[in-house]
Amino acid sequence: MLAPNFPGRKEDAVRRVSITVNGAEHDLDLDPRELLVYVLRERLGLTGTNVGCDTSSCGACTVLIDGESVKSCTVLGVQADGQEITTIEGLATNGSLHPVQEAFKDTHGLQCGYCTPGFVMATVSLLRETPSPSEEQIRHGLEGNLCRCTGYHNIVRAVQQAAGVGV
């Protein structure tokens, strides 16, 4: 490590945190500046959560903290101490895709797939809060996620299928 670049920095700023990810508890020594998304990707090897921007705009890094969607690029790993994180890897159960994942697959709701984990997690959170959303509620519920391939048309269909509304 390089020398700390300001006076008075503690010798070792590392903090011990305990984070539950997809049901498994992890005790980690984190540099406070580590973003949650890199903790997930690089420390825990959960590379399904992607980084698409550096301005909290694209939502590719969306995960659930205590069941609610958040952009994991805008959360410090140390802020997640004691909390429960769900990533895309934690959705499937016993080898079966989560209904939202299944719906994205069925409706051709993805093309390159890079934004997809973020969209799936945002959708899980949206449907938890609004179980039978209108098309407008779906579109606004996903306003924090950007996709460049699908034009969102089939993503909206996927959410409708997962919610059991519309066609």
Binding site: C58, Q111, Y114, L142, T150
Partner: protein, 666 residues
């Protein structure tokens, strides 16, 4: 700066003090051609990079005799492609053998290997390039980038793996941009609005340094400035100009959205001038007999433009929307509705190698496939195209499953690795199915051909006595499946005399022509004339992309392409200040639309198979983008035309719309 962790590299880079000497900036291509403009490359003495011309027929005479001349000037603003996955490269050196493997988020592993070998001196035979699952490209990854060469050279020098991942804001400056051209287009027409001649002149920003296809991109539109319309004389001129900006290069549609925009906007201007409905003027001018050699010299394969126009009008219920528009005007509603058409014609399926040679591209336009029938009955399909979201695994497996009569799930499509699929020209220009897919089809034909010989031999009948259906050869009550034959070909116990064992075939396909998708797109916008806000409320698209292999994949390409084109019309613009700083430097102020900004799309289709390839396919990767920008801007102008507005620069921001409305009102 090389370090062991991301954070260390970032901290260390901060310790480097760079002293910059500011040089004069010139960001606008027309300004760059003026006397006294700062010169980007002193040794050239001018910012003019090239001028390229194409002329056919007596254009001057047609303009001299024309009853009506329309002269328009449009600006194609600069765009940032925004593939969702930023670029990234990892190089693993194998010092013992001198081999290097590069994983790169690229559209073009094959072209990258050739180019990087030439640039770095790593022998091509020692270099393996892998394009793993790549998160979108849209042309931005159709380039060989400095970071790839750097990573390669550093890994070789250090004998350690090197990884570089682009950040988004870095990508906005360092990954290629698209468009950025000034278009002047003139139409010579009869008093009824029949177009006789087209003249188009482009001034295009190249950026500071030419990338892989920079100067060629606007020329891909060179033949298309007469659109889907029958004209007798044609004149095209393009000047590429150096500017102190990020280089431009291929962005979805590359040259053809620009051409379509110019002709589709201009034909609406002509319609207004001669007092015709936009539908009527298009019908008056459509190409109607195919194959048809158009004024610019290329031959359009097939089409039926009235068919998709009719279908689109019906989907829209044109009369009802026009009625709504009239009623709003009647009651002086502050919210106006506009209807915009784009009856586009596209040339894609890049490309006949000889034509690429004629416009001095550095490579051919062919593609390759190998099909390997394995002894246990599963099939490997090795393709030279390199998908990054286009579903080649799905579509190409369908082609092979149909021909070989094996289950879709028994086929493995392999791509994007020069060690596995050494021959290929990669993915861009809506070429994968129309070129690579044909190579797959032809290779499968060769498999069936060889299997037929083995079947005839083992069933002891003549080849022409065999019926073949669904993977099964039958004759005189005997039958053999392709899977059984695959095992026989592997054991080689009982093959015809002199036959090579194994059931594997390759094909390299070089297309004889481009393919020519066409269609009608109709946009309906609602404009709040007080705020200037434009809301896209409906979008109808009826496309003729020839034979469709997978309707879901085709629809997905259209949805995404349309959205990118709509985004150019309404939201996206890369803006530089006069000092050459990119102001729209992040996703916060470069406005990629979200789901909340666009509607669901209403799609239809018509089909005229291409006669120039055995599948009859035409390509669909770019149609949506090519068609939609013009449709939306025609709708914006249509909404305000009764007030006297004839043009608004893209993107049609609320402020631009407000100013346009204000200007005509005063």
């Amino acid at each position: 700066m090389i370090a062991e962790t991301r954070a260390e590299a970032r901290d260390a880079a901060e310790l480097v003090q760079v002293e910059y000497e500011p040089l004069p900036a010139v960001v606008d291509p027309e300004r760059a051609l003026e006397d006294g403009a700062p010169i980007v490359h002193d040794d050239f003495g001018t910012n003019s990079c090239y001028t390229w011309k194409l002329s056919a027929g007596d254009v001057d005479e047609e303009f001299g005799n024309a009853s009506v001349v329309v002269k328009e000037r449009y600006r194609q603003q600069r765009l940032i492609p925004n593939a969702m996955e930023p670029r990234g490269v990892i190089v693993q050196p194998f010092p013992a053998t001198g081999e290097l493997t590069m994983w790169s988020a690229t559209q073009i592993p094959h072209i990258a290997r050739v180019t990087l070998s030439m640039v770095t001196g790593v022998p091509e035979a020692k270099l393996r390039v892998v394009a793993p699952d790549v998160g979108g490209g849209f042309g931005s990854k159709l380039n060989v980038y400095a970071e790839e060469a750097l990573a390669l050279v550093l890994a070789r020098k250090l004998g350690r793996p090197i990884k570089w991942i682009e950040t988004r804001t870095e990508g906005y400056q360092a990954t290629i941009h698209g468009r950025d051209q000034i278009q002047e287009i003139e139409l010579a027409a009869t008093s009824e609005g029949k177009i006789r001649a087209v003249r188009a002149k482009l001034t295009v920003a190249m950026g500071a340094y030419l990338q892989l296809v920079t100067p060629g991109v606007p020329l891909l539109g060179a033949w298309l400035y007469s659109g889907a319309y029958d004209v007798v004389a044609y004149d095209f001129e393009c000047t590429g100009v150096f500017t102190t900006t990020t280089p431009t290069d291929a962005y979805r549609g590359a040259g053809r959205p620009e051409a379509t925009y110019a002709i589709e906007r201009a034909i609406d201007a002509l319609a207004r001038k001669v007092g015709k409905d936009p539908v009527e003027i298009r019908r008056l001018n459509f190409l109607r007999e195919f194959p048809k050699t158009i004024a610019s010299g290329l031959t359009v394969d097939s089409g039926d433009y009235d068919a998709h126009l009719d279908a689109a009008l019906e989907l829209l219920d044109y009369d009802a929307v026009r009625k709504d528009q009239a009623e709003r005007r009647e009651r002086r509603d502050t919210k106006e509705v506009g209807i915009g058409f784009s009856t586009y014609l596209e040339m894609c399926g890049l490309a006949p190698s000889r034509i690429l040679g004629a416009i001095r591209y550095g490579a051919g336009g062919w593609d390759a496939a190998t099909i390997r029938f394995l002894p246990t009955g599963t099939v490997q399909v090795l393709i030279g195209t390199s998908p990054h979201g286009q579903s080649h695994e799905t579509t190409f497996a369908q082609i092979v499953a149909d021909q070989l009569g094996v289950g879709y799930d028994e086929i493995e499509v392999l791509h994007g690795d020069t060690a596995v699929t050494p021959l290929g020209m990669d993915t861009y220009g809506s070429r994968s199915l129309t070129v690579g897919g044909i190579a797959v089809y032809k290779a499968a034909e060769r498999i069936v051909e060889k299997a037929r010989k083995i079947a005839a031999h083992q069933l002891e009948v003549g080849e022409d006595e065999l019926a073949y259906d669904g993977g099964r050869f039958t004759a005189n009550g005997g039958a053999l499946t392709t899977k059984e034959i695959a095992l026989q070909a592997w054991t080689a116990h009982n093959l015809p005399d002199g036959m090579e064992p194994g059931l594997e075939a390759s094909y390299v396909f070089d297309p004889e022509n481009f393919s020519w998708p066409a269609g009608t797109h109709i946009a309906v916008v609602e404009i709040d004339t007080e705020t200037g806000n434009v809301d896209l409320i409906r979008y109808v698209a009826v496309d003729d992309v020839g034979k469709v292999i997978n309707p879901d994949v085709v629809a997905g390409q259209i949805h995404g392409g349309v959205t990118q084109g709509v985004a150019q019309a309404l939201w996206e613009e890369a803006v530089y200040d006069d000092d050459g700083n990119l102001i729209t430097g992040s996703m916060v102020n470069y406005l990629v639309p979200s789901a909340a900004e666009v509607p669901s799309f209403e799609l239809g289709s018509t089909e005229t198979p291409s006669p120039t390839n055995p599948l009859g396919v035409k390509g669909v990767g770019e149609t949506g983008t090519i068609a939609s920008t013009a449709a939306v801007m025609n709708a914006v102008v249509d909404a305000l035309s009764a007030r006297g507005v004839t043009d608004i620069d893209m993107p049609a921001t609320p402020e631009r719309v407000w100013r346009a409305v204000k200007e005509v009102a005063s």
